[in-house]
């Protein structure tokens, strides 16, 4: 839930509570395709991906980025995200367990707003990063 973050109680190095999704699935990718309007067939059409020489469908990068954004908004509160950045690394496959987390790297005040900055990461069950990212969020 959107517990409002207290600027003074946050320290550089604090970790964002983990959001773990066990066994992401093809239906998850299809649901994301429908909700986002991203119908790139690499993410749900097995015949298409095999023809492209890829063993199976894989998650939309933005599906995984969405899971990461949930970990972030659970911690900083919805509506407090000022910046969000993602870079895609390894693909996420059906059955993978992904863990979304992050760490506070900086605290600053700008234009009268108290802000927290940090790094974000999504790793698979082997510890390989699927996404590296960062954020800036307002804190009360």
């Amino acid at each position: 839930m959107a517990a409002k973050l207290k600027y003074d109680s946050v320290k550089v190095g604090d970790e964002i509570p983990k959001f773990v999704v066990e066994g992401v699935s093809r239906p998850d990718f299809v649901r994301y395709a429908g909700a986002s309007g991203d119908f790139v067939p690499l993410h749900y059409d097995q015949t298409f991906v095999e023809a492209a020489g890829i063993p199976t469908v894989f998650a939309q990068g933005m599906f995984t980025a969405g899971l990461l954004s949930k970990a972030l908004t659970d911690w900083v509160g919805i509506g407090n995200v000022r910046q969000f950045k993602v870079r895609f690394a390894t693909r996420v496959w059906p059955g993978d367990t992904v863990t979304c987390t992050g760490k506070v790297t900086n605290k600053l005040e700008k234009d009268g707003e108290k802000l927290i900055e940090g790094d974000l990461v999504v790793v698979n069950q082997k510890g390989e990063p699927a996404i590296r990212g960062s954020f800036r969020a307002a804190a009360g």
Partner: protein
């Protein structure tokens, strides 16, 4: 070293705009998007709970804007030929105003940068597009910068 693909002529395309596209934000679209990213937070789907927040109602999750695509300006890279490969290099977002159910959001995408670098697989081009999401009051809600890689 002179660029092979991103020549002075190619760089003239920077600033090209795609056609704007306007969306009416449906309450159900926000709820379904939140479900699709595994987020059961009632602030995305429970109007009563959402009214108690300082936003006074439901607002969209951070990456919801991605569901409101707008046509991407065509980038011509003649030296790359027709059989290039592509990768999604990632995105950055900046948030200024929340997106709410009932908003009419206009998305428009502009080519803001073209860069070439020598990769392991030969020359690579980094294409950066910026999309602005503006509401019916003319308030800029979100800017998105996305980088695509062609090689």
């Amino acid at each position: 070293m002179a660029n092979k693909i991103v020549t002075d002529e190619v760089l003239k395309q920077i600033g090209k705009m795609g056609e704007p596209r306007t969306y009416e934000v449906e309450r159900g679209a926000i709820r379904r998007f939140a479900e699709a990213i595994g987020d059961p937070n009632p602030l995305f789907n429970d109007e009563q709970r959402a009214r108690e927040t300082r936003f006074g109602g439901v607002i969209a999750p951070p990456t919801f804007c991605r569901s409101m695509g707008s046509p991407i300006p065509d980038v011509k890279l003649p030296a790359l030929g027709d059989s290039f490969r592509g990768l999604d290099g990632g995105s950055d977002w900046e948030y200024f105003h929340p997106i709410r159910p009932g908003d009419r959001i206009t998305a428009q995408t502009r080519l803001v940068d073209l860069k070439e670098s020598e990769g392991r697989l030969g020359p690579m081009v980094f294409i950066t597009m910026e999309t602005t999401y503006t509401n019916q009051f003319g308030q800029l809600c979100v800017t998105q910068r996305s980088t695509a890689i062609r090689y």
